[in-house]
């Protein structure tokens, strides 16, 4: 599965797609492959403040639990209720399945994250 050029990536295998001062956050195809069948996603409440590099939720597969780390700081504007209802969407289409929408504290921070080519290089 290709890693789209329209977003940034972290070494923890999250993606973030920034539009103005708002961003969508999800996990990468590599991450969902490592997890296997996703069965549960725990996400913050709307209004929560999240800090770059800090856990904002968790994602569980049949065999393991993983923390979700915020790529950038901001305030949660929206939580994807569909993904809570149908966590398997993360396996099916990870790059179209955002988990939270965040109003960014500093949109400029995105430049410090990996682009698609850098992320794929990290995966080797």
């Amino acid at each position: 599965m290709p890693y789209p050029d329209d977003r940034r990536y972290t070494k923890d295998h999250e993606w973030i797609r920034v539009a103005g001062d708002v961003a969508e956050v999800g996990i990468t195809d590599y991450a969902q492959q490592q997890l296997g069948d996703v069965v549960y996603v725990e996400l913050p409440d709307v209004g929560a403040q999240i800090a770059a590099g800090q856990a904002f939720g968790s994602i569980e597969s049949v065999k393991a639990v993983s923390e979700l780390f915020a790529p950038m700081a901001g305030q949660v504007m929206e939580v994807n209720g569909d993904v809570k209802q149908h966590p398997e969407a993360v396996n099916r289409d990870p790059h179209a399945t955002w988990m939270i929408k965040v109003r960014l504290s500093n949109p400029g921070e995105a430049a410090a994250l990996l682009d698609s080519a850098q992320y794929q290089k990290l995966l080797g």
Partner: protein, 394 residues
């Protein structure tokens, strides 16, 4: 995202770090290793073996076993044989069932116990001949078990113990379609093998032992095959089973299937700190066997009652309890989760936990500390899934 696996969950391994030093001698490979890789399996280290965790995905393989059938390579399991004129007495000494009550061609689930009545291992004992028994033990315990059994058998005299693990590959064909997939390949009349019975015969031209045993809660067979014939038998079963939907299945599905069926996993749910009575396995104890090691302690515990019990629970609040999580009451730890997952078939978050006897009754309200959050759970009767009772509807 970082994967934080429960430390003792044997299926919770992430793939090998590709940057790790390449040491092909570090792990054993089953005779089917190249088949697994060709089929795209994710291979993981497990008990010094490299084993398939999943082929297409744990959930899909789990459902295949519940509704059709799955074929597992469980060649990592250990085999220990005890034979000799006093073999019955020797086996009676080391296992806590009563193997004297087995006829030739019958098997039993049993524990290998310490003098304290706790588990060195759990196993299945097969009576191959009047004075010849086969014990199938957990892969991680083969060396420990064999050392212990040899010592006990030697002390008793009149029998010998042999570690014959390398003489067997073991395939498990599990699921409602298992008889249909296997029957065309063998002259053995499968319908005549009762649960926990076994027969000698041929499958796809290989000399095998076919046992109606398993670790999934489904009907099915475990087939003991000479290692050099394993590939042929594996391929033949997959081919014969294709029309009825048989697929290869990995250790990930094996673990979720056994948990749904309420079966205990050594190292998670039972170990050398827990007894059969605490683990709710009192039914496996053969009290007519007066020879087994650990009997006195179990008898004492039976009379005094146990302080804690292994129970099944379902989560009431959202979240999944995992191995090692604390069971709490008013925020205070009172027990521990030993296994937990979200099961693909029942689609519930379930688990096993040791709790004080007073909380062990069905319907008891528990809380599980899920990474700092006290999530409500409820004790339910085991097994979570019972074949026939919990069939697919709609």
């Amino acid at each position: 995202m970082t994967v934080a696996n429960a430390p003792n969950d044997p299926t919770a391994n992430v793939p090998n770090d590709p940057t790790a030093p390449n040491d092909p001698n570090a792990l054993s490979r089953t005779p089917l290793d190249s088949r697994h890789r060709a089929a795209g399996a994710r291979m993981v280290p497990f008990a010094s073996w490299e084993m398939p965790l999943e082929y297409t995905g744990i959930a899909a393989e789990h459902l295949a076993v519940r509704t059709r059938a799955g074929l597992f390579d469980v060649s990592h399991m250990g085999e220990i044989e005890i034979a000799g004129k006093d073999a019955v007495a020797a086996v009676q000494r080391v296992v806590c069932s009563d193997p004297a009550r087995l006829d030739r061609g019958q098997a039993q689930y049993a524990g290998l116990l310490t003098p304290d009545g706790t588990f060195l291992d759990d196993l299945v004992v097969y009576r191959l001949a009047p004075t010849h028994f086969l014990l199938v033990v957990n892969a991680s315990n083969v060396a420990k078990d064999f050392a212990w059994i040899s010592e006990q058998v030697k002390a008793a005299g009149g029998a010998v113990a042999v570690d014959s693990s390398s003489r067997y590959a073991l395939l498990a064909l599990q699921g409602p379609a298992a008889p249909e997939a296997l029957q065309p390949l063998t002259g053995v009349e499968l319908a005549a093998i009762p649960p926990f019975g076994f027969a000698f015969g041929e499958v796809a031209g290989a000399r095998v032992t076919i046992a109606r045993t398993g670790y999934t809660g489904e009907d099915g067979f475990e087939i003991f095959v000479p290692p050099n014939m394993a590939d042929r038998v594996w391929q033949a079963i997959l081919e014969s089973g294709r029309p009825v939907g048989v697929v290869p299945a990995g250790l990930g599905a094996r673990d979720t299937l056994r948990l749904e069926a309420g079966m205990r996993l050594y190292g998670n749910d039972i170990d050398d700190t827990t007894t059969a009575l605490e683990a709710g396995l009192g039914w496996m104890i053969g009290w007519s066997n007066e020879r087994f090691i650990g009997r006195d302690r179990l008898l004492q515990q039976k009379e005094q009652g146990v302080a804690r019990r292994l129970v099944g629970f379902e989560m009431v609040d959202p979240g999944i309890a995992r191995h090692g999580y604390r069971v709490t009451q008013q925020g205070e730890p009172v027990g521990v989760v030993t296994s937990g997952t979200q099961t693909p078939y029942l689609k519930k978050a379930i688990g096993l936990a040791y709790v004080p006897a007073a909380l062990a009754g069905a319907g008891s309200e528990l809380a599980v500390d899920i990474r700092g959050r006290q999530a409500r759970a409820r004790v339910v009767p085991l097994p979570f899934y019972k074949r026939g009772r919990d069939a697919v509807s709609g």
